[in-house]
């Protein structure tokens, strides 16, 4: 008889397929983080300047389409797709997925209201189109009258969405590489950085692009600091987390992590952004495109690394 003792419900005797998350989840996590960042930057812009033409406020238009793509990839990952509505029949305070489902549900109307409240200044064509359909009048008036409270709620929801994408992974006790409290904050900062990159790309004003480039330099520096703290926490943690850390400290994902995530995804774009701030002529898309690609690669790395590491050897 082969005796198998485990304290974890996640093992191959209960669930024979443990390495199940493919491209859909990292893409969703990236888009979730990007959406959260766009919500935060858009809301801050409204709170600071009221409704006026700014790049973060313009990008509010794209929040729902971008989020729809992310939620579609999440839907593709579901094994039992017809049961997705069951998420909305309950709320479990201890379940990050339950939190995420409800946060995503709240993001839709709140983002829409913030867009309606700022579209006159940022998307006049949309305003004209909406005005022709009289049935939206009351909604637009409501959004314009309560713009700041709506921006406040958007800000809170943006932070919740950004942090949740990290906690979704860090709550997995059975995955030593994910099981770190830094992950929620790290995903939030990474999402903000992606959003700041998109804003600097979309911005028509040089001063505004300069501000968001500077902001992104700070955010990437924060990301590097948090990655450092995460690794320090792992290396000084229990044996299994130390073993998980070896994945990037000499193990099979070392090259991928240091070359693609750290060097090409963080250090190279931040270097280009610094050159841009110093006035060197650079193609406008280059640094933001690298930041966005880096954010996506980072999610792929984290999802893969977590699924490789485990507390039990079998």
């Amino acid at each position: 008889m082969h005796e198998f003792i485990t304290t974890q419900k996640l093992n191959h005797l209960i669930d024979p397929v443990l390495h199940i998350w493919q491209w859909q989840i990292p893409v969703y996590l990236f888009i979730g983080g990007l959406t959260a960042g766009l919500m935060i930057l858009g809301a801050v812009s409204v709170l600071r300047d009221k409704a006026r033409p700014t790049a973060p406020q313009k990008l509010l238009l794209f929040i729902l389409p971008i989020l729809a793509v992310g939620m579609f990839t999440l839907f593709l990952d579901l094994e039992h797709k017809v049961n997705v509505w069951r998420f909305y029949t309950t709320f479990r305070v201890t379940s990050p997925m339950s939190w995420g489902s409800w946060i995503l549900l709240c993001v839709v109307p709140v983002s829409l209201l913030l867009l309606l409240g700022t579209m006159a200044e940022n998307w006049p064509e949309l305003q004209t189109w909406v005005e022709k359909r009289r049935r939206f009048d009351a909604l637009v008036q409501f959004a314009r009258q309560r713009l700041k409270p709506i921006a406040g709620v958007t800000l809170v929801l943006g932070f919740a969405l950004g942090i949740y994408t990290g906690i979704l992974l860090s709550a997995y006790g059975a995955r030593p590489f994910w099981n770190t409290s830094v992950l929620g904050l790290l995903f939030l900062v990474s999402g903000l950085s992606s959003a700041a990159a998109l804003v600097q790309w979309a911005s028509k004003s040089e001063a505004e692009a300069h501000f968001y480039t500077l902001l992104d330099v700070g955010l990437i520096a924060g990301e590097l600091l948090l990655i450092g703290l995460m690794l320090i926490g792992m290396v000084s943690g229990p044996a299994r987390q130390q073993s998980a850390a070896t994945l990037v400290l000499g193990g099979p994902l070392t090259v991928f992590f240091w070359v693609f995530v750290v060097m090409l995804g963080l250090l190279l774009p931040v270097l280009l952004e610094i050159f841009h701030l110093k006035g060197r002529p650079l193609p406008r898309f280059l640094a933001p495109a690298l930041v966005l690609a880096g954010g996506l690669i980072f999610r792929f790395f984290i999802v893969e690394a977590g699924q490789i590491t485990t507390w039990i050897s079998y």
Partner: protein
């Protein structure tokens, strides 16, 4: 940057490559491995059956799992950083006054394909033979390098209209 300083820098990089990785620099290997990777995506069976390709990409073998690939990536990244530092990072196609950008790209592709084919026949390209072989004072490398220069000068006569 002064070309003399850049030359010394390249020499230092080569020395460090010998010291750290135990071998010199090369370039065409990365392209060849990328081609194998592309062929794997299209037809793994073809790669498995082909004697040459299977050495690099048989079954689960990852052709990109090699230091030359990272070296090529580093060269591209370093070039980008250098261009950004000196404000030269912009989209442009350098070509002679007599030809169009399209013709320039066509001939560049033709030259590149011939170069890649030759490099595979010779089991390495000019960077391998001139830099790595030359630095280790291999007589064969020096003779090959001189022949390459002689061949290039001879060929330049026939394609001079591309540049002047």
């Amino acid at each position: 940057m002064s070309p003399y300083l850049a030359g010394i820098g390249l020499g230092v990089v080569l020395l460090l490559a010998f010291l750290i990785s135990g071998r010199g620099l090369g370039a065409s290997g990365a392209i060849m491995r990328t081609v194998v990777q592309a062929e794997k995506v299209v037809s793994q069976a073809h790669v498995d059956q082909n004697f040459y390709l299977s050495k690099y990409g048989k079954g689960d073998q990852n052709p990109w799992d090699n230091w030359l690939v990272l070296l090529a990536l580093g060269v591209l990244t370093g070039g980008m950083i250098s261009g950004a530092m000196s404000g030269r990072l912009r989209k442009q196609i350098n070509h002679g006054p007599q030809i169009s950008p399209r013709k320039r790209l066509l001939f560049a592709m033709l030259g590149g394909a011939l170069f890649g084919f030759g490099a595979r026949l010779a089991r390495g390209c000019t960077s391998g033979v001139a830099l790595s072989g030359g630095a280790s004072m291999a007589a064969g490398s020096w003779i090959t390098m001189l022949c390459i220069f002689a061949g290039a000068y001879a060929m330049a006569w026939f394609v001079r209209r591309l540049w002047i």
